[in-house]
């Protein structure tokens, strides 16, 4: 979706302000919000693409005024309410008002480290040969899905060069909708600065995105 989260090239946000000696979390609630989100994914039954969509799919003023972990918290609430794991009334009241969904098994303490160390690899066996070769020029499709996509607006319609082929990977656009993994070839596509930002664009700049095959068209 063309939302506030898709920030590449946007103007007016001001300078980057690094924080010296920044802690991993700012306050205990960030620790717990982060851990709850990570720990609920398996029992809740959603995947990473569904989580990302739950976080980004909100009004721009909401996305831009919330802090990072406030967005995570809001995303977690959405995912759980959508699945009936909790009700909106419970979240607002801050207490249990309905029986738990049966058959949900929490992550046990001894499962945490192995699960994090395993992660969730997204590479899958290819079912068909790659359509594009390294070095080939491609155009990014100018599409505007209303659902989750990982094709940023600032590269749409632009010409780039295939630089790397990463094999076949789970396709977020379908996986976020629960419509299956639909693994596709994934490429790093590189763009020159002026191709993206016009004739005044920095000629010493090149930018790449990682793009699934269906984001690309032949030229």
């Amino acid at each position: 979706m063309d939302g506030a989260h898709d920030m590449g090239g946007a103007k007016g946000f001001g300078p980057v302000v690094p924080e010296p000696n920044e802690p991993v979390f700012h306050g205990d609630w960030e620790r717990r919000a982060f851990a709850l989100t990570v720990a609920m994914a398996r029992p809740g039954g959603w995947n990473i693409d569904m989580s990302r969509f739950a976080r980004e799919n909100r009004p721009p003023e909401d996305y831009l005024s919330k802090s990072y972990f406030e967005i995570w918290l809001a995303g977690l609430e959405t995912l759980m309410i959508e699945r009936g794991l909790v009700t909106r009334e419970e979240v607002e009241a801050g207490k249990v008002l309905s029986p738990p969904m049966p058959g949900i098994k929490p992550i046990a303490p001894n499962e945490v480290t192995p699960a994090i160390r395993r992660g969730g690899p997204t590479e899958r066996e290819p079912k068909q040969p790659a359509m594009f070769a390294v070095g080939q020029t491609v155009r990014m499709k100018d599409i505007h899905p209303v659902t989750h996509t990982r094709l940023p607006q600032y590269v749409r319609g632009h010409l780039g060069t295939i630089e790397l082929n990463h094999g076949c990977h789970v396709f977020p656009d379908t996986n976020s909708l629960g419509q299956g993994e639909d693994p596709q070839w994934l490429y790093t596509v590189r763009f020159d600065g002026p191709e993206l930002w016009g004739k005044d664009g920095d000629p010493t700049l090149s930018v790449s995105v990682d793009a699934w095959e269906s984001y690309l068209e032949r030229v």
């Binding site: 920030m7 920044e22 700012h26 851990a35 709850l36 802090s67 992660g119 690899p121 094709l151 993206l196």
Partner: protein
């Protein structure tokens, strides 16, 4: 409330009911108790998770990777060829680092990593991302004005150096291999490690120079 009442955007959280805790803090606390009572989460598992990300998974892991690449040419080659496997040699792997690519800085090209769409970052080697990495200023400008971003970090590169920005839009995670500082001939891996900074592995900084460490 010390540091809790100002979040990292510098906004003030108002306490409406003279409570010691902000609305968000209360909301998270209540949510955890709801999920615990419903049997969906085990708070002890949350403690393990937090401990992992605060104590075990962090930029010191990436520092080891870089220092080893600087001192062991064969390792550097393996790292550039198959970063996931080379990083796993040092026992770092998993969530948000399942598919790693290492990009090497040279006098001709400087690499910088961003995620314009969210906050993708190589956790096993760098830990959780800093606030600025997830912020709108960095996500918006890294791809259009990386030299301006570098200036915000106090870094100026020669005009002739090409800048290569990697936007992490898929599950590939990028780690920058900075250039080994001059004047470090004969240094051990441990000594070299002291020169590697987190930002130098994102591409928003450069490694320390030998004179900068004691």
């Amino acid at each position: 409330m010390s540091d809790h009442d100002h979040d990292h955007h510098g906004r003030h959280h108002h306490d409406h009911d003279h409570s010691e805790l902000s609305e968000t803090e209360l909301r998270v606390r209540a949510l955890e108790s709801i999920l615990t009572e419903k049997g969906y989460v085990d708070p002890a598992a949350l403690d393990v998770l937090i401990d992992l990300y605060e104590k075990k998974i962090g930029p010191r892991n990436g520092v080891r990777v870089v220092a080893k690449a600087w001192s062991d040419p064969a390792y550097r080659e393996r790292l550039l060829k198959d970063a996931t496997a080379a990083i796993a040699e040092l026992d770092y792997s998993g969530r948000q680092g399942e598919h790693m690519v290492v990009v090497e800085n040279t006098p001709e090209q400087h690499n910088m990593v961003v995620c314009t769409l969210c906050s993708c970052y190589p956790h096993p080697v760098l830990g959780l991302p800093p606030v600025w990495y997830k912020s709108a200023p960095y996500r918006s400008r890294a791809v259009s004005d990386p030299r301006g971003v570098l200036k915000d970090f106090g870094v100026t590169l020669p005009d002739t150096t090409k800048i290569r920005v990697w936007d992490s839009t898929a599950e590939i995670r990028y780690l920058v291999l900075p250039m080994r500082p001059e004047g470090t001939e004969g240094w051990s891996e441990e000594q070299l490690a002291e020169l590697v900074t987190r930002d130098s592995m994102i591409g928003t900084g450069l490694p320390k120079q030998p004179g900068e460490i004691t």
